[in-house]
């Protein structure tokens, strides 16, 4: 910095913003400015358009360079306004002269309807010309008759300024006003006012002129600043970046697409779900996908002839062929509850319960299999448990159904647990998932009483959407498991929630995914 004579007080990187050294030495000019100054000094002043053509540059770049030279005091800009005249249409003309010629042929007067027959005219043109002919003072109208005036006769031999302007423009094409010679342009335009024959455009033009300082600086007072594309490590290490200009980029230009690595949008909803329940103080549990009918159905007091257990709705497993049952005392308590209510205070389903059917393995049909297992393993209150798990139903794949989907199931085992508290947990969960409006409606499930369904309001659909079921486990479920306090329980589907949040109409999109959708799905919608 010292070599450029900056004072110690100057800010770091002491070159002035335009890169000109402060004090003495040749002025460093970027390429376009350098070339423009050369042109101005050697070929003289010119308009920006002409200079751009001469330099083979964009006019916008030349303008920017001219402004920069002006800033340095090497050039000045002059702005001039002028008018450009042109014909509104290439064949534009006035019918006026043809009308007076026709009148002349008719002996100086005649009825308006007869005029077209005496000239190269149609009725419309005659009608349109009347007003202007009167304004020129070429004719007088008496009823339906027109008469040529003295001025009109005189005009037969001498064209008016507007007619001459039109003729001129027809020959030359668009003209600058100051290029029109031999006629009074203002008078011509006054006559044409309101006739839409000649178009007038206001134009401005900038001329760039070299200043004395500019002439004096060329060629020895300036040097060309090199323009480069890339800032390199070498330039930083040897300070060479100070000697060059960085060619500006078109920062508005688009760029090639980059696809980030991300988690799956549905996985993020599953993760949010887990986080919600962890935040609420729940402990996460899991259970096997291949589940015994006992845990999936019997322990939940679903009678063995319940339609949900039919082959039509549930995937049964051929291999392994049989599942083991838990503690015989528990199995027996479940049996008695089904058969006659056992010790639960219920009348039971009143049929002969089969242990063989309970051993049949199924693909877990709901995540409640995990929570009832957790309850039976440790029925002591207080306890809060949840699971997020894939479950299976024997559905044919279509846009609404898949044989696999995810549920979050949870239980609260608490002496003070009540239905109102169940509604509280569900409200807390759905609020955490971003829903503000929901309502609870009665529902009927075989293993909860009272039971409730949660409906969430979706603005886009203008409707309530059912998202899950919940209730308090029946005594027929809790009593055999050794639990004497109320157990709140829920099983909430998550795919539908995900589809609504991501605006999907086809559930398959979640599992047979279009990578483009995965790449585009926003991380924080």
């Amino acid at each position: 910095m010292a070599e450029h004579g900056t004072t110690p007080a100057a800010p770091a990187g002491g070159a002035s913003p335009d890169g000109a050294p402060e004090g003495g030495g040749p002025i460093r000019l970027p390429e376009t400015e350098h070339r423009l100054l050369e042109r101005l000094v050697t070929a003289g002043a010119g308009t920006e358009a002409a200079l751009a053509a001469a330099l083979g540059e964009d006019q916008s770049k030349v303008h920017a360079a001219a402004l920069a030279l002006a800033d340095r005091g090497l050039a000045t800009l002059e702005e001039r306004a002028w008018r450009e005249l042109s014909l509104a249409a290439p064949d534009a003309s006035l019918p006026d002269r043809e009308v007076i010629r026709a009148l002349d042929r008719m002996g100086g007067r005649g009825a308006i309807p007869d005029i077209p027959a005496h000239g190269d005219l149609d009725r419309r043109a005659v009608g349109q010309a009347l007003r202007w002919l009167k304004a020129r003072g070429w004719i007088l109208q008496e009823g339906r008759e027109l008469a040529l005036t003295e001025a009109g006769r005189a005009a037969l031999d001498e064209e008016a300024p507007d007619e001459r302007l039109i003729a001129l423009l027809r020959d030359t094409g668009p003209l600058r006003e100051d290029a029109v010679e031999g006629l009074d342009v203002d008078a011509a335009l006054a006559l044409l006012a309101g006739r839409r024959v000649v178009r007038v455009r206001e134009r401005t033009e900038r001329r760039v002129l070299p200043t004395e300082a500019g002439r004096a600086a060329w060629p020895d007072g300036v040097v060309l600043r090199r323009q480069v594309n890339l800032l390199t490590s070498a330039m930083l290490q040897d300070g060479g970046w100070r000697e060059v200009d960085f060619r500006p980029y078109d920062v508005r230009a688009g760029a090639a697409r980059v696809v980030p690595g991300k988690t799956h949008p549905f996985r993020r909803i599953l993760a949010e779900t887990r986080r919600a329940f962890l935040e609420l103080g729940f402990t996460e549990v899991a259970s096997p996908m291949v589940e015994s009918s006992f845990w999936d159905f019997d322990a939940l007091f679903q009678p063995q002839d319940h339609p949900a257990r039919e082959m039509q709705d549930t995937f049964y497993v051929a291999r392994p062929a049989e599942a083991r049952l838990p503690d015989p005392a528990y199995v027996d308590a479940v049996r008695r509850t089904h058969e006659d209510g056992g010790d639960s205070g219920s009348v039971g389903w009143r049929y002969d319960w089969s242990e063989a059917l309970a051993r049949r393995p199924v693909l877990r049909t709901h995540a409640t299999a995990a929570t009832i297992r957790a309850l039976a393993a440790d029925p002591r209150a207080p306890r809060k448990v949840f699971t997020v798990a894939p479950v299976f139903r024997r559905e044919t794949v279509d846009y609404k159904h898949l044989p696999v989907f995810h549920q979050v199931d949870g239980i609260v085992v608490d002496e003070k647990a009540s239905f109102a508290m169940l509604l509280g947990v569900l409200s807390a969960f759905y609020r955490k998932m971003g829903f503000e409006r929901f309502e609870f409606r009665p529902a009927f499930f075989p293993y909860t009483e009272p039971s409730v369904e949660v409906f969430v309001w979706f603005d886009e659909k203008r409707d309530w959407v059912e998202l899950g079921g919940a209730g308090i486990f029946r005594p027929e479920v809790t009593e055999p498991a050794g639990c004497a306090v109320p157990v709140l329980a829920w099983g909430l589907g998550l795919e539908r929630l995900a589809m609504l949040r991501h605006g999907l109409t086809d559930i398959r999109q979640l599992y047979i995914s279009d990578l483009d959708w995965l790449w585009r799905a926003p991380l924080c919608p």
């Binding site: 096997p288 497993v317 393995p361 894939p390 509604l423 409606r441 009665p442 009272p450 790449w519």
Partner: protein, 614 residues
């Protein structure tokens, strides 16, 4: 669940002018939702009559005409003149609740709403002394003819029109579905009493498949060929074909006949044409048969009480059912007695309800309540309710009467410490690492096939995979044992998307395990794949090594000859930590035959590892 259309004008008529005036359609829908009905909407149905058998059916206006009568089977395409318009009706459509078939006809629903909204006490229905007697053959319920249970009733003072005939049909269908499991556990017959010879006992007995001939419902009695045997009914009659599975393998079929041997019905298939209910019928004979007395009795109770609600002035008359010297009179409309502790009930709901308030809520739901002042209530549950197994079922009724919308949600006051499963937290970390390495997560289904798991991957069919007993398609016959085929399937579905494609999945695969309680267990895996115009072993290995490092392991890759890989370009993934070396997975360039099997046209290099061993 089936959707039931309840005729709106009949409902409003049964509600009485006061309620009908209050319940505009939106309020009616709201009210129904608040008592637990899933309302699909309101709309008009077109009613059509089969002119041959009188069968009435209802159809949405935009549906095509039925091609055949579902009762007599006549083909309307051949005999279009037999399909007649019978007007249109406004209905409210709701999903039928299996536990509450008593509120899916205008009569039963109006009864419920009058109590719920007006506090009107549930009616009691007198049962007149029996005049008819049904004798049950001792063979009923044996292996020869295993349908033991029967309950009967007579309803007199019936006045019918098209609307009521249709309601009666729907009520039967509702009960068949909700309580009868499609006639398996209970099936209902309704007959014109005046066409039954009742000068002696009716008989419920087994009949040989070719033991007699009768004219089934829908057959023209004038046709000499109309009378057919039970075996022929099962062969040719539409209802026979629809329900013969219920009697498959039975040596004899259940038959109900009158005192002179006239057939009422071949049970649970079809009634006789002779006893068919007609618009001019004034008295019904009704039977419900099935596998158990409880369900059969409940179905009969719902039916006869709703009929009285629908046809004011009708009277229920008992029928004596005699079996092996034992006699009882059906229907039994005595309420079910349940003891309910009011304190328990209020605590379960979470409301501060005093005894009187709770009793009032129960009365609004149709229950009789006797409050002895202390100790439990004596609750009389109406005979048409089938869903009260335990006192908690009454708690739900009280909560519904109170209104779920009036219950303020509250949070659990008990402090608990939450805890995540380690395998899930580990999976979160692995997903983060894979995403950071530029891989996009995908999720694929757990269900797959042997063709995809083994054949497409050039692997011998394994013996450790879980097989389904009742797969729904050939593509989904087993639980996956590897994630990789799912990744290849995803790549195959995205061949039109730009390359390179880097994807991964973290998920469970399943294996048989005799030690596991259910015989199988899940193992958490991670797999990743890179598909690009040039994708080689060296392009993926650094990412795998980086992932292992994130999990605290070094990576050694040892030559392996897994047939899925190009020979010489596959490796075993060995996790290394100090002296410890664990084979945890594999990686390699996939064999072109594998790529062809998945219709992939660009090379793929992939890895899969067992996360539980890393």
């Amino acid at each position: 669940m089936p959707v039931v259309g309840i005729q709106t004008d009949l409902l409003l008529d049964r509600l009485g002018p006061e309620l009908a005036g209050q319940l505009d359609p939106p309020r009616l829908v709201r009210t129904l939702e608040r008592i637990g009905c899933d309302v699909e909407g309101m709309g008009e149905l077109r009613r059509l009559r089969c002119e041959r058998c009188g069968n009435l059916t209802e159809h949405p206006p935009d549906h095509a005409d039925p091609v055949a009568c579902d009762r007599c089977g006549v083909d309307f395409r051949e005999r279009p003149e037999l399909l007649a318009e019978a007007g249109s009706v406004e209905v409210i459509r709701m999903e039928l609740l299996a536990v509450r078939p008593d509120i899916f006809d205008p009569g039963g629903l109006a009864r419920m709403l009058r109590g719920y909204l007006l506090g009107e006490a549930a009616p009691s229905y007198p049962v007149d002394p029996p005049r008819l007697r049904v004798e049950v053959d001792p063979a009923m319920g044996t292996e020869r003819c295993p349908r033991p249970a029967i309950a009967c009733a007579v309803v007199r003072g019936v006045r019918l029109d098209d609307d009521l005939i249709k309601v009666l049909m729907k009520l039967q269908e509702n009960l068949h579905w909700a309580l009868g499991r499609d006639r398996k556990h209970a099936s209902i017959g309704v007959y014109d009493l005046d066409r039954i010879a009742a000068d002696g006992p009716l008989r419920y007995r087994p009949v040989e498949p070719d033991g007699l001939r009768f004219v089934p419902l829908g057959h023209d009695p004038a046709d000499p060929a109309a009378a057919i045997t039970p075996a022929e009914v099962l062969e040719v009659h539409p209802k026979g074909r629809a329900y013969r599975r219920l009697v498959e393998g039975w040596p004899a079929l259940p038959l109900l006949e009158d005192a002179r041997g006239g057939v009422l019905a071949l049970i649970p298939i079809i009634n006789s044409e002779h006893t068919r209910v007609r618009p001019e019928t004034t008295s019904f004979f009704i039977d419900v048969t099935g596998t158990g007395e409880r369900i059969v009795g409940k179905a009969l109770n719902v039916l006869v009480t709703s009929l009285v609600e629908l046809m004011p002035g009708a009277r229920i008359e008992g029928v004596t059912v005699a079996r092996a010297g034992e006699e009882r009179v059906t229907p039994d409309l005595a309420p079910q007695r349940v003891r309910l502790d009011p304190g328990d009930a209020a605590r379960r709901i979470g409301l501060d309800l005093d005894r009187a308030a709770l009793a009032e809520l129960l009365r609004r739901m149709g229950h009789g309540v006797r409050d002895p002042g202390e100790g439990p209530f004596e609750v009389a549950v109406p005979a048409w309710r089938n869903d009260v197994l335990h006192p908690v079922d009454l708690v739900e009724d009280a909560a519904i009467a109170y209104g779920y919308h009036n219950i303020a949600p509250r949070l659990d006051p008990t402090f608990t410490v939450g805890a995540a499963l380690p395998v899930e937290e580990r999976s979160v970390g692995v997903r983060e690492a894979m995403a950071g390495l530029g891989f996009q997560e995908v999720m694929t289904l757990q269900l797959t096939s042997e063709a995809r798991t083994f054949e497409a991957m050039r692997l011998p069919v394994g013996e450790r995979h879980v097989l389904l007993a009742n797969p729904i398609s050939a593509d989904e016959t087993m639980l996956r044992t590897d994630l990789l085929p799912g990744l290849l399937g995803t790549l195959a579905a995205n061949t039109h998307r730009p390359l390179p494609q880097r994807i991964f999945e973290v998920g469970d695969v399943s294996f048989l395990d005799a030690e596991a309680p259910t015989g199988a267990r899940e193992v958490r895996h991670v797999a990743g794949a890179l598909c690009a115009a040039t994708a080689g072993f060296a392009d993926l290995r650094p990412a795998v090594e980086a992932l292992f490092a994130e999990l605290g392991w070094g990576l050694a890759t040892e030559p392996d000859d897994r047939p899925s890989h190009l020979p010489g370009r596959g490796a075993r993934l060995v996790a290394v930590r100090g002296e410890e070396r664990r084979a945890v997975g594999h990686m390699g360039e996939l064999h072109p035959e594998v790529l062809e099997a998945f219709h992939l046209r660009h090379p793929v290099v992939a890895f899969e590892a067992d996360l539980t061993r890393l």
